[in-house]
């Protein structure tokens, strides 16, 4: 259960405006605002298990072969060309006839479930009984931008709404003081798909992601301009409301606009406390690796993700990796150097987040997804690196009604192709929607003559884990 119980809209309005004293709206106005509010909480299509989603996005594509999918045969065939019986694969860079590269990582079975996890993730491994590891993921494209669009929107081209936008469109907002869909990019820089990959596409702008910047006040426009005191600006907000009401004829849309100012003001008032981690216990900060070098940044963002969930935010993306390829999980040159560094930055924060959510009773209603836009090639690139690889890779899910301590599907003996129970990234989307109580065929929006949906024309729930 959520610690902070979401209240219904009416209670919230009374509360918020009561708090404003002079700013109290009439209940008539509140009712009208509700009718026109595209963010009003909507009932799911069927009872939901999850209320929020945190996507721990490992940008660039982490290797399945060195993390969750051990392949003894690959180690045995190290340095040899791929045997013909495994079939063909197209890579972005690796030419035909390249030599296979074994993994230098050690795999150990963990937890009651005894699932293999490599020594890159000692902390995550301790949470294995909460994870459903899907070892048979695949997608359609082997280059970053197209695969990133597909990971977020189910399409290999930009312009389609991301899964986060769809979910907010389907369920509305439960947060009274925050945007419902937040992205925390890696401060190191850009990803190939750029901002369009997170975007709302043709859905109305109200479903757009809020991109968080760095610094102590990461949401745009929450700071008052220099020299303006909050109590003074409140007077301006009151003038706006009074003048808008004085103009008369307040219908649904105008009422919604008046209300959007009250929400904006509330966001602004609550944000400083929300982003100030000083009021967390030291033990909690340590759990996420905050204050210690490689983990500090990702740890902070994971902790913020937990706070957003507590505030009722629906969809949160915490990106690991940004800027030049090697600053992502995009280990073309040296898989060891890259993955040790990237895992070193994220393993403890990820495990910290899972642990913290669980002990606060939030994991039951929060679905956590981990993974990249694809995996990495069994063949070596430049001797000790690995190229992109879309035909078989691993993602994991936890919480939000997902059954932990399971591994699902399998790649072949060298990790080239998903051969047992293959799941397209669209199936991951379908499963997420399902846990949120959304039917992929009912969540549609008319666009250019079609009733578009997140999952194109297909998508199946991964039955073994729900």
């Amino acid at each position: 259960m959520h610690r902070i119980m979401p209240r219904n809209r009416r209670e919230f309005l009374t509360d918020a405006f009561g708090g404003f004293g002079a700013l109290a709206l009439t209940s008539f106005l509140a009712e009208q605002a509700d009718a026109a509010d595209p963010l009003a909480t909507k009932k799911p299509h069927f009872p939901a298990k999850a209320r929020s989603v945190i996507f721990l996005y490992m940008a660039g594509g982490p290797s399945h072969l060195d993390t969750f999918d051990p392949k003894p045969l690959l180690n045995k065939l190290n340095g040899q060309p791929r045997p013909a019986e495994f079939g063909e694969a197209k890579y972005q860079f690796v030419p035909k006839g390249a030599k296979l590269l074994g993994s230098a990582r050690k795999f150990t079975k963990h937890g009651r479930s005894g699932i293999d996890v490599s020594d890159l993730f000692p902390h995550t491994a301790k949470c294995i009984d909460d994870l459903a590891v899907v070892r048979s993921c695949y997608c359609d494209k082997v280059v970053h931008s197209a695969a990133q669009y597909e990971l977020f929107s189910g399409r290999v081209t930009p312009g389609f709404p991301s899964v986060g936008s769809w979910i907010v469109y389907g369920l509305g907002s439960e947060s009274q003081s925050l945007p419902s869909y937040m992205v925390m990019p890696d401060p190191h820089g850009a990803l190939e798909g750029g901002q369009p990959m997170y975007a709302n596409g043709f859905l109305p702008a109200v479903y757009q992601p809020t991109m968080l910047g760095g610094g102590p006040r990461p949401i745009r426009n929450l700071d008052l301009p220099p020299g303006i005191k909050p109590e003074d600006r409140q007077k301006t907000v009151k003038l706006i409301r009074d003048l808008n009401e004085a103009a008369g004829d307040v219908d649904d849309e105008l009422a919604a606009r008046i209300r959007s100012y009250e929400l904006a003001f509330k966001m602004q008032t609550e944000a400083p406390e929300l982003f100030d981690l000083a009021n967390e216990k030291q033990e909690t900060l340590d759990l996420y690796g905050i204050g210690t070098k490689p983990t500090d940044d990702y740890g902070r963002r994971c902790l913020l993700a937990r706070r957003f969930v507590e505030k009722g935010v629906r969809f949160i993306v915490v990106v690991s990796g940004g800027g030049a390829g090697n600053m992502q999980w995009d280990a073309h040159k040296d898989i060891e150097e890259n993955h040790k560094r990237m895992a070193g930055q994220t393993d403890k924060p990820v495990a910290g987040l899972l642990t913290d959510l669980k002990r606060r009773g939030l994991l039951d209603s929060t679905l956590v997804l981990w993974g990249g836009e694809f995996g990495r090639s069994p063949e070596a690139q430049d001797g000790v690196g690995r190229d992109h690889h879309n035909l078989g890779f691993t993602m994991w899910l936890a919480g939000g009604g997902i059954k932990g301590g399971r591994s699902v599907g399998a790649t072949d003996a060298i990790g080239l192709k998903a051969v047992e129970d293959p799941y397209h990234v669209r199936d991951i989307h379908t499963t997420i929607l399902h846990q949120l109580g959304l039917d992929q065929e009912k969540l549609t929006f008319p666009h250019l003559g079609r009733r578009e949906r997140l999952t194109l024309v297909e998508g199946k729930v991964i039955k073994q884990i729900v």
């Binding site: 026109a36 595209p38 963010l39 197209k90 890579y91 972005q92 860079f93 280059v143 970053h144 931008s145 197209a146 081209t157 930009p158 312009g159 401060p187 850009a190 190939e192 798909g193 750029g194 901002q195 369009p196 596409g201 043709f202 109305p204 702008a205 109200v206 757009q208 809020t210 991109m211 760095g214 745009r220 426009n221 929450l222 301009p225 600006r233 007077k235 301006t236 907000v237 003038l239 706006i240 003048l243 808008n244 004085a246 103009a247 849309e253 105008l254 606009r257 959007s260 929400l263 904006a264 966001m267 602004q268 030049a324 090697n326 040159k333 008319p446 666009h447 250019l448 003559g449 079609r450």
Partner: protein, 649 residues
């Protein structure tokens, strides 16, 4: 479940050969009888009113009375030029004794250069205009802005629409020596393009490019969602998979063409400078790959600095040409998959939407796009004129007679007034495809001039909640561009210069960091340029200005036939706390002080500028009270946030 849904769709009336009655939009335009006026209380100014009143009468409804002159001048000015009227213009109009004062106002604004800036923008939405390619590199297309100026100019000169279509589809084929025609043909280059390093998926990428060109043409000029037939026979409209690939064949030889406008000496100098910097960048990148920790960070920073010093691309025209030897052999692709090739095809008009059922041309037919464009602009093409007059109607009333402006197929909306649509389309073609003539017809009508809201709104709303019958003028929120341009204008800062290369305004550093290279966002050095109208700001796929995004500016990834108008807290935060709003509130306050003395007249002026009317007694009272303790700039900021400013009645 899915099977049932599919059967239901099929039963809903597929437009296939077996269907005896063609879909309404594919039937020839009628020449409807103009209904007689049975409600003498309303002036029938032209047949538009007759058609609308006839529709209303069936439901026992009437038009709202005519709006007052203050409302009308604000409506007409925003509608035609996207800016508020000045107090002087308002006063002149309100006191104009001429019986033709209103018609003269419309004509004056139609003749304004700013008309093209407003109506060109609608067109740019529909063609998904952008100056960059999107995807990973989001490369800038040198000279892409010339297409934007071409469109603005075409609207301003009222270029006959049939010619406008022809030039955009096939300008390069019509006259290869005419630069304006090349710029127009840049239409074919507007779609996103994916490029990547390493192994290329050539067939797939080429198919994507041709798909972009074909799909855009279907949606923009014909109101047909041909894209559905890319993978399967269209479930609703009679477009087969075979038809689709024949249609795509019109672009089989179409290739990118950048015509550099610099002299050979300039080109050589540019190349020398670029090569030198590129060599240094390569060196830094190599060193950075070998380094670790802080050293690597420094080297990466150096690389970025070097990239920023690269010279801007040479002036060019971004267009297309036919290259016979690079012509793509087009095949019918099963499920749209480039690995599943069916028969080879040549260009052929779609099975629907054209008068002539032309046969398939040889794959190497000369000037294929001219052939296509000519068929599209045949005066009796059932779709072309209807689709365009409907776009103009939508621009004035917020919603079209067909409310799916890009989809006139079976799955699209039904026309609320089919006879009116046909009458307007007939007038359009008869006037020599004059778009300005369509504006005149619409704006002169009593239908356009009625008030909002209707005095008996509750009753009318119960019968026709969506106002499809137009019993009142539909209020609309200003577009993103309207809001920004108008705030600049209120502040006395709007730079009304026309045309030229796009302007790059400063944005948050965090957003620039999300670009492929920060050097892609090179802020225009001349500060005055930052206050240009929004249509002249850089249209970059991977970075929209957050202000514009918040107010529903489309993303240019796909054709936007109608803008959303959403309402949310991020808009409030932009207008309350955003840099633009706050800087301009200071300027607006300074202007009020300059032009009026004392709170009373400053309040009066502020309302006249922002709401095109004086304040009511209650508004004045509230403002005076506020200004007793609070500074004028806070009042100025409040004005930007008023519904009286943000909406047009």
């Amino acid at each position: 479940m899915r099977r049932i849904a599919f059967i239901a769709l099929v039963l809903a009336g597929p437009l296939c050969a077996a269907d005896p009655e063609p879909h309404w939009s594919l039937q020839p335009r009628s020449h409807p009888t103009i209904p007689a006026n049975r409600s003498p209380a309303f002036a029938i100014r032209n047949p538009i009113d007759a058609f609308i009143l006839a529709g209303l009468a069936k439901e026992g409804l009437t038009l709202a009375p005519e709006a007052d002159r203050a409302t009308l001048i604000r409506r007409v000015t925003f509608d035609l030029i996207g800016l508020p009227p000045s107090p002087i213009e308002m006063e002149a109009f309100q006191n104009d004794p001429s019986p033709n004062a209103y018609e003269q106002l419309v004509d004056r604004l139609l003749a304004s250069h700013h008309y093209g800036e407003k109506w060109g923008r609608y067109w740019l939405d529909v063609v998904r205009y952008s100056e960059t390619e999107g995807f990973e590199y989001d490369r800038h297309r040198s000279g892409a802005w010339r297409y934007r100026d071409y469109v603005i100019d075409a609207f301003n000169r009222d270029k006959p629409y049939d010619r406008f279509v022809l030039e955009q589809l096939a300008g390069d084929e019509i006259d290869a020596t005419n630069e304006e025609l090349h710029i127009a043909a840049g239409f074919n280059r507007l779609g996103p393009v994916r490029r990547n390093a390493g192994n290329q998926e050539l067939a797939f990428s080429r198919n994507e490019v041709m798909t972009e060109m074909a799909d855009a043409t279907g949606a923009v000029f014909l109101g047909l969602t041909v894209a559905c037939a890319r993978c399967h026979d269209h479930k609703f409209d009679g477009i087969t998979l075979d038809d689709y690939y024949c249609f795509q064949s019109f672009w089989a030889a179409t290739q990118e063409h950048d015509i550099v406008r610099a002299s050979p000496a300039e080109q050589a100098a540019w190349k020398a400078k670029t090569d030198k910097i590129q060599a240094e960048i390569k060196k830094a990148q190599k060193a950075s790959a070998a380094a670790t920790g802080d050293a690597r960070d420094q080297l990466e920073a150096k690389t970025k600095e070097l990239e920023a010093t690269l010279p801007p691309p040479l002036a060019a025209v971004c267009t297309v040409r036919n290259v016979a030897k690079e012509r793509t052999p087009v095949h019918v692709l099963k499920r749209g998959n480039t690995d599943k090739k069916g028969r080879a095809v040549g260009p052929k008009l779609l099975g629907i939407g054209f008068v002539e059922k032309a046969s398939e041309l040889p794959a190497d037919a000369a000037n294929p796009r001219t052939t296509l464009a000519t068929a599209i602009v045949q005066p009796d093409n059932p779709l072309t004129a209807r689709v365009m007059v409907n776009r103009v109607w939508q621009g004035h009333f917020g919603s079209g007679i067909v409310n799916t402006a890009n989809d006139f197929g079976v799955n699209g909306g039904r026309p609320s007034h089919l006879e009116l649509l046909d009458w307007l389309a007939n007038e359009f073609v008869a006037s020599g495809w004059s778009i300005k003539q369509v504006h005149r017809l619409i704006m002169v009508s009593s239908t356009y001039r009625q008030a909002s809201p209707h005095p008996a709104m509750q009753a009318a709303s119960a019968k026709d909640p969506d106002n499809r019958l137009l019993w009142q003028f539909p209020r609309r929120r200003l577009t993103a561009e309207d809001v920004r341009d108008s705030i600049l204008m209120l502040a006395g800062q709007l730079n009304l210069a026309c045309g030229g290369p796009s302007v790059v305004v400063p944005v948050d550093g965090d957003l620039v960091k999300l670009l492929y290279a920060p050097s892609q966002w090179a802020v225009t050095t001349n500060r005055e340029e930052h206050d240009r109208r929004s249509v002249y700001l850089l249209a970059k796929r991977n970075l929209r200005l957050p202000f514009m995004e918040a107010f529903d500016q489309p993303d240019a990834a796909t054709s936007c036939s109608r803008r959303e108008s959403s309402t949310h807290a991020l808009q409030a935060l932009e207008l309350l706390n955003g840099t633009l709003a706050n800087n301009l509130a200071n300027a607006f306050a300074a202007r009020l002080k300059r032009e009026a003395t004392g709170p009373d007249s400053q309040i009066d002026l502020a309302f006249r500028l922002a709401a095109s009317r004086p304040p009511t007694a209650r508004e004045r009272e509230l403002a005076v009270e506020f200004l007793r303790t609070r500074p004028l700039r806070e009042f100025a900021l409040a004005m930007f946030n008023l519904n009286a400013f943000l909406y047009v009645n």
